[in-house]
Subunit: 178 residues, 2 copies
């Protein structure tokens, strides 16, 4: 039996631009109480864009929270009223300048469920064609293409420091496209 | 060229039990300024424990932040003074009651670098032997064994809602052990 935790009180400590912080009191079966710190975050999408030349298109950008640049799959926060597939297509157009003729969801997961409710919906995008949308004005992104032949565990271990990208590229290695 | 963001001011808004919230002012090259919300979190470890019977041992537990139970690889926050491999061995003993004779790091990644500095160090654990440490008193964990033969993309898509576990099991599918 999986233990439920009953909410005794909820307290939003901070209401921000991309996240809220909530500090709740909870009660376990048996009566013991504890504090739970929760980051509320909008859902996000990530996309694995693959070309007919058997490349995956990644983006490199500075990530302030980790004080350095990261190589990642294109990704972003869903906007109000968007379906996940709409967000995926928009992010691809903004970040790499392509739209997909084929798009399918391959998984959805919580990025850090110990403290955050952020969910990431992961797509595979194929049959790409050029289509550009303006980037957000405070995004500075470099596009990097990798041939499938380079994608192996050694590549992941050396080059990938982003969790969703580690998951996405491991998935691509495990599911070779023909 | 990857854009750096220069810190103009740092402000810790909340100092908590498992996380701190910092709200910084930053400046882009060119002079434009913005706010960055950052969750500071200690590093964590995750472990893929595999048995000689070609099973992977997972744990099911209630995750308050996402309001439900999740099936995950054993994992936890590193304690002060611990090396990552020490944390991995401790978490295995606490969560599944085994210790490994073989342990190797297969990757390390940020779980949600858009807003958090949490890093997860991922290990493969083999050649397990029984060895029990007490669980943290507010952890309630169910151990679940899966044969390798069940691990495929359909399994991930249906059963795995945790990012590090999606990454870990994709890695295992991509790197079949002999």
């Amino acid at each position: 039996m999986i233990n439920q935790e009953k909410t005794i009180s909820r307290n939003i400590v901070y209401r921000g631009k991309i996240l809220n912080l909530r500090v709740d009191k909870v009660e376990f079966p048996g009566g013991k109480r504890a504090t739970r710190e929760v980051i509320e975050h909008e859902p996000a999408v990530g996309i694995i864009p693959v070309t007919e030349d058997r490349e995956v298109i990644l983006v490199k950008q500075y990530r302030y929270a980790v004080s350095g640049p990261l190589l990642e799959i294109p990704a972003g926060i869903m906007e109000k009223g968007e379906e996940p597939s709409d967000s995926a297509i928009r992010e691809l157009q903004e970040e790499i300048g392509y739209a997909p003729r084929q798009l399918r969801e391959i998984g959805r997961f919580f990025t850090s469920p110990g403290f955050s409710n952020e969910i990431l919906i992961l797509f595979l995008a194929q049959d790409l064609f050029p289509s550009r949308l303006e980037q957000d004005e405070d995004e500075f992104i470099e596009v990097v293409r990798y041939p499938f032949s380079m994608l192996d565990s050694a590549f992941l271990n050396e080059n990938i420091r982003d969790g969703k990208t580690f998951a996405a590229l491991s998935w691509l290695i495990a599911n070779p496209l023909n």
